[in-house]
């Protein structure tokens, strides 16, 4: 990640996100504290009841105590239920809030800020970070609050009967409930970071094993790789176990301190009873109340651990999706400009003028002084080898990156002054690496125009030569295609993506390597489909494949971010130019 935010800023922003739920959070935590106190109450009243009864008073003197015992007994259970329920409700609301917030924050920035990262690791991290944050309230905020309220209430109560017991309780609570977890944290802190790094490595290893299994098997290296992954898993298992052992030691110690509080509560009262400063019937009670308060301290180690984890997770998310990001590539439309994204029906006039662009801090320009005019209905092609800048031309029009210099206009309006959605509404783009969602074939194609009719959908699939394939699928249109369409072949995925373009039916069609993954015949069929369907639409073909460009109005040959030459097919061949040389290679 780019920069590390300081923990206080992260905490402030995180609390800001949770702010809308503050009442619910306090309510749920209050239920938690009352649950602890109800138990203390139950034990206290029971102890007093038995102690009083031992003195054999008349029965009616005990009735209040008996009612008290029953009251606390029922209250404890009811409060526990309420606490559980409300806490989880808040947690899920927070989860929803964070997900939606993150999506909304990252959406305008993508793909610019998501591209540089190692993809699978990045998305796994994001999902895991959000999962971690859902527990921020329950463990980091609620637990210490409950502990503080419970211990304080019990100490105040004790101080009326046995002040030394109250003092012991506070001291023991501070050492056992705060000191010991802090000590443990010093040891575990570094270990947690190491574990995270190890998990990343292991995840990489397992991904290599699963995704590269074909190669591994073919090379006879599957067994060795599996051994290596298993060894790494064993190693992390050992490390994790050490941590767990330490965690359990902490928990056992806190319990040990609660027993010390019980002993301290009773024995500090011994002298008081002898001096007559404490009534004997309260002796047992002081010990039991002191011990009961400790119930609230058990979750403290987890709170500290989750504080670190939560802040790290939040820090990562915040650095991906900064507040009011200055480098937002989609500035809001200029005031007075009515920018309502609407489906375009007229074919716009698109113009690139002297556009320059470089990715990130790189000094080399990905695009230099690039100019291109796409009048309505034009049929043009961008050709060149990988890295020549073809796809960058399209990305800039799609507003994925802000261009450094020059201008791109649509019907005379600078595209940066329009809503990105409006620009994109006019464009039907087949990108180089279209994502296929883990959903059905129908859902995947309908994404292009959710309101499309079944007939539209069928027509789009026919044009993309997908209809026959769908017919033989087990569930037809309702077949699940797997993660990123992995159940489909390369050609099938490409045709699903093409069907989207046909269905979206935009006035401007941009095809980046349309025939990628398609065999020659299907490629030719699809080219025919396009010719039949495109009609008056503007078409820009981006390709390294030099065939079938004879009927283009203009071919723009790119090399290292510049226009190397341009002209019609015949002109370029006649010139004996770069294009002709490329063709001459017999490709």
């Amino acid at each position: 990640m780019e920069k590390v935010l300081d923990p206080m800023t992260v905490l402030r922003r995180l609390l800001g996100l949770l702010r809308p739920y503050r009442l619910m959070m306090v309510g749920a935590a209050a239920c938690g504290a009352l649950t602890v106190l109800a138990n203390a109450g139950l034990l206290a009243v029971s102890a007093v009841l038995i102690s009083s009864a031992a003195l054999m008073p008349p029965l009616f003197e005990l009735t209040t105590l008996i009612v008290g015992v029953r009251f606390f007994g029922v209250a404890r259970a009811a409060l526990r239920y309420a606490e559980r329920y409300f806490t989880h409700d808040v947690t899920f609301r927070i989860l929803k809030k964070i997900r939606v917030w993150f999506y909304r924050a990252i959406e305008p920035l993508a793909p610019a800020n998501l591209q540089s990262q190692a993809e699978s690791a990045l998305f796994r991290r994001i999902t895991a970070d959000i999962e971690t944050l859902q527990f921020f309230y329950i463990r980091v905020l609620a637990a210490p609050f409950i502990a503080l309220v419970s211990v304080a209430a019990c100490a105040v109560f004790l101080s009326f009967f046995n002040p030394p017991a109250a003092a012991f309780l506070i001291i023991l609570a501070l050492t056992g409930g705060v000191g010991i977890p802090l000590l443990t944290r010093r040891v575990t802190r570094g270990a947690a970071a190491t574990a995270a790094r190890l998990w990343d490595e292991i995840y990489g290893g397992v991904t290599d094993f699963a995704r590269g299994l074909a190669e591994l098997k073919a090379c006879g290296a599957a067994g060795a790789k599996r051994e290596a992954v298993a060894a790494a898993l064993r190693e992390i298992g050992r490390r994790r176990n050490k941590l767990y052992a330490l965690e359990s030691l902490t928990a056992v110690l806190i319990q040990f301190f609660s027993h010390l509080a019980l002993i301290a509560g009773v024995f500090s009262g011994v002298g008081l009873v002898a001096d007559g400063r404490l009534e004997g019937i309260f002796l047992a009670m002081t010990g039991l109340v002191a011990q009961a308060a400790f119930e609230s301290l058990q979750p403290m180690p987890l709170a500290l651990e989750q504080l670190d984890e939560g802040l790290t997770a939040a820090g990562r998310l915040f650095s991906l999706a900064p507040d009011g990001a200055p480098r937002r590539p989609e500035p809001a439309p200029a005031s007075g400009c009515e920018a309502v994204p609407a489906a375009k029906t007229t074919v716009p006039d698109i113009m690139w003028r002297q556009v320059c662009f470089s990715y990130g801090k790189q000094e080399t320009f990905a695009l230099r002084d690039f100019s291109l005019h796409l009048p309505p209905g034009a049929k043009k092609a961008l050709v060149g080898s990988t890295g020549a800048g073809k796809s960058t031309v399209v990305s800039l029009l799609l507003r994925f990156w802000p261009y450094t210099a020059g201008s791109i206009t649509m019907d005379g309006r600078e595209i940066t002054a329009m809503e990105a959605e409006e620009t994109r509404a006019a464009l039907g783009v087949l990108s180089q690496d279209p994502w296929i969602f883990h959903a059905t074939v129908r859902e995947n194609i309908l994404l292009a125009r959710p309101e499309a009719t079944a007939a539209d959908l069928r027509e789009a699939c026919r044009l993309a030569r997908l209809d026959e394939f769908i017919r033989v699928l087990p569930d037809g249109y309702e077949t699940e295609v797997g993660e990123n369409g992995l159940k489909l072949s390369g050609g099938q995925r490409q045709r699903v993506a093409l069907a989207r373009v046909f269905l979206k039916n935009s006035p401007v069609i941009i095809l980046d390597e349309a025939e990628q993954g398609l065999d020659t015949l299907t490629g030719e069929e699809i080219r025919a489909s396009l010719r039949e369907w495109a009609g008056k639409k503007t078409v820009l073909r981006v390709t390294h494949n030099l065939s079938g460009l004879e009927d283009m109005d203009e071919i723009i040959v790119m090399d290292e971010g510049r226009v190397a030459e341009r002209g019609t097919y015949a002109e370029l061949l006649a010139q004996g130019s770069y294009y002709a040389r490329l063709r001459g290679k017999g490709l």
Binding site: L43, F72, R99, W199, Y244, L486, R500, E513
Partner: protein, 588 residues
Amino acid sequence: MIDKNLWREAGRDKLYLAGVALCGLLSGITVLAQAWVLACVVRAVFLDGAAPLGTRSSFAALLALVTLRALTGWLEEWFALRLARGVQFRLREAVLAHMEKIGPLRLREEQTGELLHLVTEGLEVLHAYFAKYLPQLFKTGVLPLLFLGVIFPRDWTTGLSLLVTAPLLPMFMMMIGKWAGSETKKRWRVLARMTGYLQDVLQGMTTLKILGQSAKQAEKVEEISENFRRVSLGVLRIAFLSALTLELFSTLSIAIVAVALGLRLVGGGIDFQTAFFLLLLAPEFYLPIRSLGAQYHASLNGTAAAERVYAFLRTPAERSAGGEGGAAPGSKRVQPRLETAEGISVSFCDVTLTYGEERERALSGLSFELRAGEKIGLVGPSGGGKSSVLNLLLGFVLPDSGRILVNGADMRDLDMEAWRRLVAWVPQKPWVFAGSIRDNLLLGSTEATEELMRQTCSELGLAKFVAEMPDGYSTRVGQGGRGLSGGQIQLLAIGRAALRRAPLLLLDEATANLDLAREETVQNALWRLMRDKTVVAAAHRLQTTMRMDRIFVLQRGRVSESGAPAELMRRDGAFRALRQAGLGGAGL
């Protein structure tokens, strides 16, 4: 109560299991002793007016007891952790081994993201299952009985009320647990789908933007999260009933015991020390059951994860060769016979192939013969059967019927490991492993020396490509070839295949565009690689096809035309149609 499969796993570490049990029992005994001493002290001070000095020995005894209790508690967890670790290791290894067994074709159908999570952090839930839930389960079974054994002789009425309420608790818990359990299983699936959903949407963000759907998707994220909240709360509302019941039973029983004891004390039916001892024991009596309730989620999560693991372990392998899949057990494995001078000959006799549950046959009655040293090109539309031929030869799948003979031996009978040593493969989309260029080149060629690697690379014309990298052969490359161009990945795969020095080359030519500058290097490297080998190439490029000895046009799973390329060009058949469709282009 306990998952059968997991219990069987735990049973393999009997020593740790015994340690857990012993410590659990010991901790119960210290609880009893602690309560008894405390009751003595309180009676002595409160009723007998004992002086503070007189309580010293009890004070020391109590300190010793709570220390002992802490020790046994920690030891118990330590044993339990050992148990958990062992089970985790074994299950993870089993999943990895099964992945290998079912092979790449089947694995592609699984949601790998979920599976990878399962084998790594997903199985961490078993830690809670074995280290927390299981010891608690034991204590719940044993400690209440121990306590009752002590309570009954002293006061049978209290004993009776505890005895009556105790079985009701687990009974209610089980009822609610069953109810919640089935709901939780549903939720687990929703959760998995939900996690997958956000990741899917994030990864497909660019596509969503192009389609103008990315902003709208925020509402979908919200809707799905809200739905998840409602589903979860619906389940938890039931699941928490068990918490409520647990709490209610234990607190009410304490209340009943306290009140009953109080009334009997007034009537003189019991002495204070016993009464206080019983009062102290009442919460301890319910504690194991309550703690078990608290670990109930751990048990459900553990069971759900285990079920996913065992479900995966049950996925059948594609019928693959070499006894890796469904081949008859006990059949003899034949070492492939190879007279090096002659190379490898292959013949397909009436081979049919259907993948998994698919309706369409991938191959239907395919027959052809390939002489040693011959180079054949497979061409045809996608889905025509080109990849299937390669999959069969790699032993990733076995035919439904028909035979594949290599050097006269049926592939079904071959030892796959040995067979694959004779095969080099350049896949269409090669996987690049995280590591150095060297690691990637030497994959599976463990005995190859550095010198051999360098020599092979320069022979193929790859040395220049390596020299361009910042650290040469030691340059680290990202998983899946991050940071490498398509052409560079191809070169890497060609180098990898060459280093295997295998007599049979399977080539699945890339259709994706390569950079023009690289194109020539790749082609040249391929020619050099093919030299002196028997070659089966799924060819997409005209140049490649024309250099082959023979061409098979595969359509709908069978050979529709075959012959030398020049001859096929003269004939007015399928090949010519294909070629003309891609006339002058990089197609075919």
